[in-house]
Amino acid sequence: MSTADGDAPLLSVEGLSKTYVSRPGFVARMAGTPDTRVQAVSDVSLQIGRGEILGLIGESGCGKSTLGRTILRLHEPTTGRVTFDGTDVTALDPAAMKAMRRRMQIIFQDPYASLNPRRTVGDIIGLPLRLHRLATSEAELRDRVTEIVERVGLKARAVDLYPHQFSGGQRQRIGIARALVSHPEFIVCDEPVSALDVSIQAQIVQLLLDLKRDMGLTYLFISHDISVIGYMADRVAVMYLGEIVEQGPVERVLSDPRHPYTQSLMSAVPEVHPQGPHKRGRVRLTGDLPSPLNPPSGCKFHTRCPLAIDACRKVTPATEGVGPGHSAACHRLSERLSLLDPDDAPAAP
């Protein structure tokens, strides 16, 4: 299941960075205004084994979506490498990349923006088959589209309708059908349930799990909802300001989070029995996510970290192993502090 099995991972990301450069206008440039650089993803390394679900979690704006899109080369990476099933995706020429796209797909967050309003559902789902010439005839194309439409839980007649005739949940099923009709192996799920009603979320999560089992899929599942990640993922990676701060098997990371940022995320999950016997500490992070335009020095989390010491402000912490397949990047890992333990948490200022 995980990379610890010794199999080569299906997807391997090494030192991936994405920097957006925005150049000022001509006059401002002449006046000496420098280019603005936003490092959305910085030096991310992760691996996903075949058939695995890696959950990617973090606040809005931390670079989760950019990471997912850069892996698929929807955005070109600035540095780093993405290897898919032994092939260096970042080095592929356009023709080879097009062929590779059949094998790696994406499901989007907003089911209202992700479907072309002027095309019928059949056109939208049939597009991958047409682009990759996967159907030999119109009849076969229609059969395959109808098959996947029914597989994702819609009626066959949906193919003749337009996206605006469906609800958000149904549209998300259309988006899933489009991603899956070409039988890909790897799917980036970019917050596929965050825009949906809670009651619909559970249905879509279950559908994604069923499809993964039946079609042998591998997911990078991006979310800011810890409970969805906890339910779906095999492993989890926690992202803060473009960096992975903690990574490991989901049961270990969620039950024994080692990075103070992961701990603060965990403490934000509402408890079912707040007065129960295992009352845990609450961490209240102060301030907003710092601007990636001007990221903090040293450990990027030090501006909001209740445990920050001098070293955190100056030195970027290295990623260290803290258990089987479990790693984190923090200067104070060896002290085994936990913000969730009321004894360790510093008193509120």
Binding site: R69, L72, L74, M97, K98, A99, R101, R102, Q105, I106, F108, Q109, D110, A113, S114, L115, N116, P117, R118, R119, L127, P128, L131, H132, L154, K155, R157, A158, D160, L161, Y162, H164, Q165, F166, S167, G168, Q170, G175, R178, S182
Partner: protein, 302 residues
């Protein structure tokens, strides 16, 4: 979303199964004034097509005994020449009917050429960005710097008169209007997730521009093009008025207005009726396109 959204079975009712285009056309039909204007435009088009059947006389046949004959309801007029005759004794009504052909043909041809060029250039500038965008946008800026009519007059002087030359002279600058609309809409649309989805599926740039983006930005382009058609008709009339457009004896509204200039006080009908024809057609196109805009672009509906 609609209530039908709960189940795709319900959603399949005929009323719900209409495309956005049909819904827009229904909105358009609900606007009385716009509908009447559209009918007027259609009548002009029919008149242009059926000119030999509708016109009472040969538009170029002169009759020196009828020089400057007044309209039928005035003293000295006759119902065989309902709107009177010009300085060469030609029937003004017949010449107006034949002149419709020139106005509508040139208007439509210029808009067709200009919109096609404008769409392609605008899509390329807005989607490809980079140096393509810089080159196209700067060219647009330069062309916008020239006064339209003076630019067209200069081109006509260079190329010489003729139907094709008029169309070229006007289309030379006209394409920047749809180009700017298309570029702006493309800049917005290219960032939408369905465009990203098409890229993720491996679609080519051509497919994304023409199949994914273009159908979604066509409404404002159609609206702008119809509004501009009225403008082009006026420009053609202006060129013909100045003697740079359609050459005599071919009937053109602008040239007819110019013909009557010398006798505007004694024989006002020679200039006035072709002028009214220009006014009517341009007004009808403007009001109809206004209605189109309201129906197709929800941002403009009041």
């Amino acid at each position: 979303m609609s209530t039908a959204a709960q189940s795709p079975t319900e959603a399949a009712t005929p009323a719900a199964a209409t495309s956005i285009f049909r819904r827009n056309m229904r909105d358009f039909a609900d606007n009385r004034l716009a509908l009447v204007s559209a009918v007027v435009v259609v009548l002009f088009v029919l008149m242009a097509l059926a000119a030999p059947l509708v016109a009472p006389h040969d538009p170029n046949a002169t009759d020196l005994f009828r020089r400057l004959q007044p309209p039928a309801w005035m003293e000295g007029g006759s119902w065989s020449y309902p709107l009177g005759a010009d300085a060469l004794g030609r029937d003004i009504l017949s010449r107006i009917i034949y002149g419709t052909r020139i106005s509508i043909f040139i208007g439509a041809a210029v808009i067709l050429v200009a919109t096609t060029i404008g769409i392609l250039a605008g899509l390329a500038a807005g989607y490809l960005r980079g140096w393509t965008d810089v080159a196209i946008s700067r060219l647009v800026d330069i062309l916008l710097g020239f006064p339209y009519l003076i630019f067209a007059i200069g081109l006509m002087a260079m190329m010489g008169p003729g139907l094709v030359n008029i169309i070229l002279a006007l289309a030379y600058k006209e394409w920047v209007i749809p180009c700017r609309v298309v570029r702006g809409e493309t800049l917005v649309t290219r960032e939408l997730e369905y465009v990203e989805a098409a890229r993720a599926l491996g679609a080519s740039r051509g497919h994304i521009m023409l199949r994914e983006i273009l159908p979604n930005i066509l409404s404002p382009v159609i609206v702008v093009s119809t509004i501009r058609m009225a403008h082009v008709i006026i420009l053609e009339a202006s060129l013909s008025f100045l003697g740079l457009g359609v050459q005599p004896p071919t009937a053109s509204w602008g040239a007819m207005v110019a013909d009557g200039r010398a006798f505007i006080l004694e024989s006002w009908w020679v200039s006035t009726f072709p002028g009214v024809a220009i006014l009517l057609l341009v007004l009808a196109i403007n009001v109809a396109s206004q209605g189109l805009r309201d129906a197709f672009d929800p941002r403009f509906s009041e």
